[in-house]
């Protein structure tokens, strides 16, 4: 089945005003922190990675109608059902009805601070020289990408300039689709906002962080 992302929103219109909120506001319902915690804890089992989580959320057909933590909940549920960890009848019943799978890892309370402090760095030793350097002009891949990607639609086919070189990083497109880490060089590429949209703000430049396979020399 073709992968369709409903989350690629840069430059789209008609979403209404921005509603600010005070710094101290964290959650808007009691269940939201539970979803955050379950997502982080299940992410710690090693059954999927962060890119698979993003792919599961962003391809939800109901994405645009759901609130943020509803998206997280449905994304988590989708991953768990796909892995046979829970079944719909269990969610209906509110209790376990089938046997449990043995998990590769489990996140225990005592380990949480260390696990969060360690994080999950994505930089890897480079095995090839970087194809591009700061100042190079590049053209971004045009057209559809048939799987999870971090190449936003709004830059596809556009020319930009390499502004930073970040080293080789785990390639999200491969990582999300079960093809392993496949590290590639990562660059910050800048665009004149008016080149992307004629009605964009004046005197504004926009950048994305792009892996090498997203671009070619312009």
């Amino acid at each position: 089945m073709a992968h369709v992302s409903h989350a690629d929103l840069g430059g789209t219109t008609g979403h209404g005003p921005i509603v600010n909120e005070p710094e101290g506001e964290r959650f808007h319902a009691d269940w939201e922190p539970r979803v955050l915690a379950m997502t982080l804890a299940m992410g710690g089992t090693g059954l999927w990675n962060i890119d698979m989580s993003r792919a599961a959320r962003e391809s939800l057909p109901t994405y645009a109608r759901l609130t943020y933590y509803e998206i997280w909940f449905e994304g988590l549920l989708k991953l768990m059902v796909a892995q046979g960890l829970v079944a719909d009848d269990e969610l209906q019943a509110g209790r376990s009805l089938h046997g449990a799978r043995v998990l590769p890892r489990k996140l225990y309370a005592a380990d949480v601070p260390a696990v969060l402090a360690k994080g999950a760095a994505t930089e890897r030793p480079a095995t090839t020289p970087a194809r591009f350097e700061v100042g190079d002009r590049v053209r971004m891949h045009a057209g559809e990408v048939p799987h999870h990607t971090r190449l936003p639609r709004y830059v596809r086919g556009h020319r930009g300039v390499v502004e930073r070189v970040h080293g080789a990083h785990v390639f999200a497109d491969a990582h999300a689709t079960g093809r392993g880490e496949m590290p590639h060089w990562l660059y910050t590429v800048t665009f004149d906002a008016r080149d992307l949209w004629p009605d964009a703000s004046a005197d504004a430049r926009v950048s994305i962080d792009a892996w090498e396979p997203y671009m070619e020399r312009a």
Partner: protein
């Protein structure tokens, strides 16, 4: 509330979403997939420990110590970690210095990427379609909505966090703050000023 399904009285006030979340949490606990105490530690961490006061501390240090500021701009991850802030969603930090010539603003148009160790969890607007769609196309309009009008001649630089690099804006130090210590300076540093949708406060106003 779904029909044909009995809920005891305690649950009658709960929304369908609350019930689904409770159901999943119960199943995960019964199957032994999660340690219930781990969930509580995770929530406590992001509800009460990690938040934008961390980033404000980093900014105040940079305003007070030129050598630290140079380090922060050269190697954000290491300089920030030296103050005790590191890890998940802050593994690869880049700090962007606002100047009279250039104003930086950070967005994640694809999801909600945000530097958790220094800013905590993102506010709802940062994760929502209005900001994510317009920050890249109409940053001046977005800033106006946040009450920020940049002086003539200030260019805008928007950073879309499309990979695992996380960006923190170093706002300009306000005038009239010469005698302030780091704690007093940190109180002027708002969350929005470190995303680039706001400016640092001028004394005697204080961050919330």
């Amino acid at each position: 509330m779904s029909a044909g399904h009995h809920h005891d009285h305690d649950h009658s006030e709960l929304s369908p979403m609350e019930l689904r979340v409770r159901a999943l949490e119960t199943v995960l606990g019964e199957k032994g997939y999660v340690d219930p105490a781990a969930l509580d530690v995770l929530i406590d961490t992001y509800q009460s420990k990690v938040g934008p006061r961390n980033g404000a501390h980093v900014v105040a240090r940079a305003w007070s110590d030129p050598a630290y500021k140079q380090w922060l701009l050269r190697d954000g991850s290491a300089a920030i970690a030296s103050l005790g802030f590191q890890g998940r969603q802050g593994e690869h930090m880049v700090v962007l210095e606002n100047t009279p010539a250039q104003h930086h603003m950070v967005v994640c148009t694809l999801c909600s990427c945000y530097p958790w160790p220094v800013l905590g969890l993102p506010p709802t607007w940062y994760k929502s379609a209005p900001y994510r769609s317009r920050a890249v196309r109409d940053p001046r309009g977005v800033l106006a909505e946040f009450g920020v009008a940049l002086p003539e001649g200030t260019s805008i630089r928007v950073w879309d966090s499309t990979a695992e690099v996380r960006y923190l804006v170093l706002p300009m130090r306000p005038d009239g703050t010469d005698g302030l210590d780091e704690d007093e300076l940190a109180a002027l540093v708002t969350r929005d000023s470190m995303i680039g949708t706001g400016l640092a406060l001028t004394p005697p106003a204080r961050a919330r």
